[in-house]
């Protein structure tokens, strides 16, 4: 009874924290949006690949990772972004906070059962421009301001099971739904048509909800006493976009990628490890489905160093440094392949321990990154906080 009550409290916290994600990047305007890192802060600090890392974690990218959990746990992440964009000399800036990852793990006799929700794609962006138009083809000029706003995103919700097999190999599988929605609104305001009366805005657009299936499998284990390796594969069905009853636009269907992650960690000493990994995603599956721009297969790599011998405020802590380089999948007519790179640094603190179990852990990561495509650059600071609470 007490356990279920605390489990309920944890779920409540999870749901409370699951407010809509806020905008991340102007690159969200391309294709299906900006791919997001649905990981905790530790993974971000160590290169962002998220597989082959020691320690039982709640994860959407490594289904086998929760096998190491031996107490009920809940984890969530909060990310704040501050970015400056330069579009061929036109500067803009923006900021926002989002909750990219929430997960609950509960050890049972057959393994660790997990429920997780994580962000997959961000589709929140606005573009606006003013220009003069010739209304009647005879020099009757007017000024209009066009504004297009996309507001939404795509997430994945998965139910998973992870367990450690005899011999020490951890395996896991997750299955779930890809969900989300987006509103896409075009608005043209007429600033000075000189018609003697105010002209109401011309507005059209609609809202679509996303539906799809997703599943992931993963495995990890030690090779000897030094090297831990892991990998995962994520499959997704076609993503269906269904218009609501007030939307004139048609429904759509988009191919989602298969994603392969492979990573490894070398434990150089009990307190020092180095990890790295690669990630590929076959986003070209969506290329034919996009009406604007295109999509391509992308490759990412990243890695980092973790030293866990530090102490902050008397708490056992870990210091991390890392780097990652990613290709972004969606291109515009500029045909310039966009990329994202980031240097990362982080700190993890075991706030409360009970015996050998970490009951509360806080991970902080700061990233300095650059997204670029030709003359379009976007530099960002991103600060991530992850909290994991266990033992309720």
């Amino acid at each position: 009874m007490n356990a279920s009550r605390t489990l309920g409290a944890a779920l409540a916290v999870t749901l409370l924290a699951s407010t809509p994600a806020s905008a991340q990047s102007l690159f969200a305007s391309r294709g299906l949006g900006l791919p997001l890192f649905a990981t905790d802060s530790r993974v971000l600090a160590l290169g962002g690949i998220g597989v082959g890392l020691p320690g039982g974690e709640l994860s959407l990218v490594d289904p086998s990772a929760p096998a190491g959990l031996n107490v009920p746990s809940v984890a969530f992440s909060v990310q704040s972004t501050w970015a400056d964009a330069d579009e061929g000399g036109a500067a803009s800036d923006f900021s926002g906070t989002r909750f990219p990852f929430l997960s609950l793990g509960y050890p049972t006799s057959i393994g660790t059962v997990t429920v997780a929700i994580g962000s997959v794609l961000d589709q929140r962006w606005i573009t606006s421009s003013s220009r003069q138009i010739d209304l009647d083809g005879a020099g009757g000029l007017g000024v209009v301001t066009d504004r297009f706003e996309s507001d939404g995103g795509i997430s994945a919700v998965r139910l998973g099971l992870a367990r450690t097999l005899p011999g020490g190999v951890s395996v896991g599988a997750q299955v779930g739904r890809v969900i989300g929605d987006v509103s896409r609104i075009f608005d043209r305001s007429f600033d000075s048509l000189n018609v003697g009366t105010p002209v109401p805005d011309f507005t059209l657009g609609g809202r679509w909800s996303y539906r799809g299936w997703t599943a992931a499998v993963g495995a990890s284990g030690m090779i000897g006493s030094v090297l831990m390796v892991g990998g995962s594969y994520t499959w997704s069905s076609e993503l269906d976009a269904l218009p609501d009853e007030n939307t004139d636009g048609a429904e759509g269907s988009f191919g989602l990628p298969g994603e392969l992650r492979v990573g490894a960690t070398a434990v150089l000493s009990p307190q020092l490890s180095i990890s790295g990994g690669v990630h590929t995603a076959s986003w070209s599956a969506a290329d034919d489905d996009l009406s604007v721009g295109g999509a391509r297969d992308v490759f990412s790599w990243g890695g980092g160093v973790e030293w866990s011998g530090a102490s902050v405020l008397g708490k056992p802590s870990a210091v991390r440094l890392g780097y990652r380089a990613s290709e972004l999948p969606f291109t515009l007519e500029d045909a310039t392949d966009p990329t994202e790179t980031a240097f990362t640094g982080g700190l993890g603190m075991d706030l409360l321990t009970g015996g050998d179990v970490v009951l509360a852990r806080l991970d902080l990561t700061l990233e300095r990154g650059l997204r670029a495509a030709g003359s379009f650059e976007e530099r960002f600071w991103r600060f991530s906080t992850s909290v994991r609470v266990s033992g309720f």
């Binding site: 924290a17 806020s22 905008a23 102007l26 969200a28 305007s29 294709g31 299906l32 909060v78 704040s80 970015a83 964009a85 579009e87 061929g88 036109a90 803009s92 923006f94 900021s95 926002g96 906070t97 929140r124 962006w125 606005i126 573009t127 606006s128 421009s129 010739d134 209304l135 009647d136 083809g137 005879a138 209009v144 297009f148 075009f186 043209r188 007429f190 048509l193 018609v195 003697g196 009366t197 002209v199 109401p200 011309f202 059209l204 609609g206 976009a241 218009p243 048609a250 759509g252 009406s291 604007v292 009951l359 509360a360 806080l362 600060f383 906080t385 909290v387 609470v389 033992g391 309720f392």
Partner: protein, 432 residues
């Protein structure tokens, strides 16, 4: 365990506060907009967007106007007289007797009285010089709502012509000269015989006809009072003043301005309205320049229509009926055309107080264009879900507003009504 929850909560809350400012990434790069809507303006002639205009009259009566009109051969045409019915003479007066006690005295004797008339002295309504005003006792009862130059009463079962056109014959109560430069009022003194004559029409109530005798004048009577002087029976060395307030007032005029065929007229007293029957085609041809940008013919749909304005051109009103002040123009849908001229109307398309048009627009500087927003009306013509209302009525928001009316160029003439449509043609917004 509580500490763990506490720490986690504090960290989450503090972090949420740290980055609470939310700004969506906004690009000034218009090429990111995934569609290219085209906005065009089309100008339709009357024949292209409407079938006919019909002028209806008789809305309201002159008695509803605050200002009553006096005119004598104005612009060589117009005569107008004001008719006022005062209350019955008071039957008693409160008088202090020789003991100092105030008592009601009904046995007093009228020894005289006066009519006090106050006129409009605003620039446009003031005579240029002194004028002579005459008052006379009305010979018969009149109905303020239906009285006209020829008829005193014109109700459903009762039609009583004047003995003489123009609310005559009236027995003169006297004349007085009013010079606008010296004030806004004129006083006509009445002797006891006149008061007796005035009070003799007990059934009809005391009625007075005011007229201006100076030719070429049109002016407004704002108010008139009848004051009576009486000597009380109980205190015969005292004169008391009694009032007989006006109960009803109207003005009658001649000639009645019949509207021109195919003209457009609003205002006046009683007021005129003009009903315009629209027939906007669904397929609009477009001009060659426009057809280079959008596919022609252009199908008109409610969603594509951004703005519709009706453009009218002012025309000179008949000289005697040119408005002295601004005319406010309103436009409404006729909700039940089969009930015209008494159809209920929709809400104002213009909004209060209407489109103002200066009086010069109907006189010296006629030819001004007036723009009336009719977007909602035209959009409804193409709304599949609702019943189509093709008739639009042009009127003044208040009826009547003045004896003057506004005139606009009708169809088939230079300056005829035009309909300007602003359309945005666009593909639908699609998903990615």
């Amino acid at each position: 365990l509580k500490r763990a929850w506490l720490v986690a909560g504090l960290v989450s809350a503090s972090w949420g506060l740290l980055a609470c400012e939310e700004t969506t990434p906004t690009s000034g790069n218009g090429t990111l907009i995934p569609l290219e809507p085209q906005t065009v303006a089309l100008d339709l002639s009357f024949e292209e967007f409407a079938e006919a205009v019909t002028v209806y009259g008789g809305y309201g009566t002159p008695s509803e106007l605050f200002e009553a009109v006096l005119a004598q051969d104005y612009e060589g045409v117009l005569d107008a007289r004001v008719l006022v019915r005062y209350a019955q003479f008071p039957w008693a007066a409160s008088v202090r007797d020789s003991t100092g006690t105030t008592r009601a005295d009904s046995a007093y004797t009228f020894v005289g009285g006066r009519l006090v008339a106050r006129f409009d002295t605003t620039e446009a309504n003031r005579p240029e010089g002194a004028v002579v005003v005459r008052a006379g006792v009305l010979p018969q009862e009149f109905d303020a709502r239906t009285a006209s130059w020829a008829v005193a009463v014109d109700t459903l079962a009762d039609r009583q012509p004047w003995g003489e056109a123009g609310a005559g014959p009236a027995v003169s109560l006297g004349e007085a000269e009013w010079d606008p430069a010296s004030g806004d009022s004129v006083v006509l003194e009445l002797d006891s015989a006149m008061v007796a004559m005035l009070g003799d029409t007990l059934q009809a109530g005391p009625g007075v006809r005011y007229e201006v005798l100076t030719a070429g004048v049109r002016m407004n009577l704002l108010s008139s009072d009848l004051r009576l002087y009486a000597r009380p029976n109980i205190h015969q060395d005292t004169i008391v003043t009694l009032n007989a307030p006006p109960l009803a007032q109207t003005f009658i005029y001649d000639p009645f301005p019949e509207p021109a065929q195919d003209g457009i007229r609003v205002g006046g007293a009683p007021s005129w309205r003009t009903v315009m029957t629209f027939d906007v085609p669904t397929q609009l041809p477009g001009t060659p320049a426009i057809c280079q940008r959008v596919q022609c013919p252009i199908t008109l749909t409610p969603g594509r229509l951004n703005n519709a304005t009706l453009t009218l051109t002012t025309a000179p009103s008949e000289a005697a009926f040119q408005p002295a002040d601004s005319v406010f123009l309103d436009a409404r849908a006729v909700l039940a055309p089969e009930l015209l001229p008494k159809s209920p109307l929709g809400t104002s398309l213009v909004g209060a107080p209407g489109v103002p048009i200066g009086p010069d627009g109907f006189g010296d500087v006629a030819g001004q264009t007036v723009t009336i927003p009719v977007t909602t009306f035209v959009r409804a013509l193409f709304d599949e879900s609702g019943e189509k209302v093709p008739d639009l009525v042009l009127l003044t928001p208040l009826e009547p507003l003045s004896i003057g009316f506004g005139t606009f160029v009708g169809p088939g003439q230079p300056g005829a009504p035009r309909l300007r449509l602003i359309l945005t043609v666009s593909d639908t917004v699609e998903i990615s």
